[in-house]
Amino acid sequence: MNEHSPSHIKETVMPLGACEPSEEQKDGAEIADTTCARAPIGLLAELTHRCPLQCPYCSNPVELERANTELTTEEWQSVMRQAAELGILQIHLSGGEPTARRDVVDIIKAASECGLYTNLITAAVLLKREQLEKLKEAGLDHVQISIQDTDARPENADRIGGYKGGSAKKKVVAGWVRELGLPLTINAPIHRHNVDNVAGIINYAVELGADRVEIAHVQYYAWALMNRASLMPTREQFNESAKIVEKAREDLKGIIVIDSVVPDYYAKYPKPCMGGWGRGIINITPSGRVLPCHASESITGLDFDNIRDKPLAEIWLNGDAFQKYRGTDWMKEPCRTCPRHEIDFGGCRCQAFALTGDAANTDPACSLSPLHEQWAKVADVESHNASPEFVYRRPGGASRKPGMQKSPATSEA
């Protein structure tokens, strides 16, 4: 037995968005080459952009897609079957709020019937217990609930999400998830309005019975970029939170898995966004646009295919947007000759585009980018100024006041 690797098992964190590379990956080992090279492993299905919450860091594009453009139930079911055929293993049903679509049960059923692992990424406030039961019956494998802060600070949580009573409702739904025996992840986007409570959030996740908690520092694209001056923590606050995470990982070993996403403004090297462009993850928007990453529409000049027009396999293999930054051939210096270029793939294309005007440039998150210093300084300055009011996320955009109207945001999709 000893000729086998001591652990017998290689672990791959599915970089939905942008996780920290694992120790192995930092050492320069290949990132799950066996899984990623040819077939994608994960699909992020944004079922709708409707959401009752209005988080100012929402990763949806600033131009939210309208309900009347959304794919039908049958179209999503076909996406699931095509995904399974293509070799995809995990489906993340997200939004907006995926449960704003009543047919989420039928979509999950189709996915689990073809053997896909299904993960519901939800803000939880619309969920009813019987709906959750139906989802479980349909084969749902895992629930991820996002929170804004702990139940000890509900006013803060509800202010951040722009939804009154949200914090309390999330707690109730998390209880149902556990009662039904479904595994639970708590996802907590971290920024300057809750960075002081990272320890509290981890403990709250344990209290809620979560198996896993994500301490996910906000990534500054889309709405979050617009709200950067309100959200960016200081470097000291970030360092402090990183220490807390490290200690909690030791203390809570075997009790809860803690994943963390760092704000790359304070990192030395960028994260391998999506584990590399067109390498393992596909994102489909509510209207069926097939993207290499949820922010990629911000890069002007890329051509995106729609799942209504072409089979998923063809889009994945040959689609312009996927081919454009796949692999390493498109890279410029300093990435082209950098020994890390198959570890981080030059960082985030969307961030490179937003800040340098050319998506093929090195992500300014990298300390080797000529723009890095100037860019890191922005974070330093903004994080020490007073926080401006949030621009809340809602269709039609830039509103300085949260709309507290109780829109249930549900409809027959």
């Binding site: 037995m1 964190v13 066996t34 899984t35 070799g87 293993l89 494998d141 344990v206 070993k253």
Partner: protein
């Protein structure tokens, strides 16, 4: 049924009866011709030994039973195998992939 949140770290010993919780899926991935473990936001890539062990983790057999079974199969000393399995399962227990 309400499943209480685990508050203590599960420790793997020769007498524990490990099992994979229902939301962790050991699956044969036909398109890539290998076994994989599906977990929330994670994939695990088990080698042949790990697959053999995990298939025997049914909540009935103890680690010692599993080791004995595999000792015969691999024609190797059971105590060595036990140590190896304990180490592997402890790592997996810490990652929530097996429970006791």
């Amino acid at each position: 049924m309400a499943e209480a949140a685990p508050r203590v770290r599960a420790i793997i010993e020769a007498t524990t009866r490990p099992i994979m919780p229902p939301h962790i899926k050991l699956r044969h991935d036909a398109s890539r011709g290998r076994w994989i473990i599906l977990a929330p936001e994670r994939l695990f890539d088990p080698d042949d030994v790990a697959v053999d062990v995990l298939k025997l983790c049914d909540g009935q057999r103890t680690v010692a039973d599993i080791a004995e079974h595999l000792a015969k199969e691999y024609n190797a000393p059971a105590n060595e195998i036990t140590a190896d399995i304990v180490e592997m399962l402890q790592d997996l227990a810490d990652k929530g992939v097996v429970k006791t």
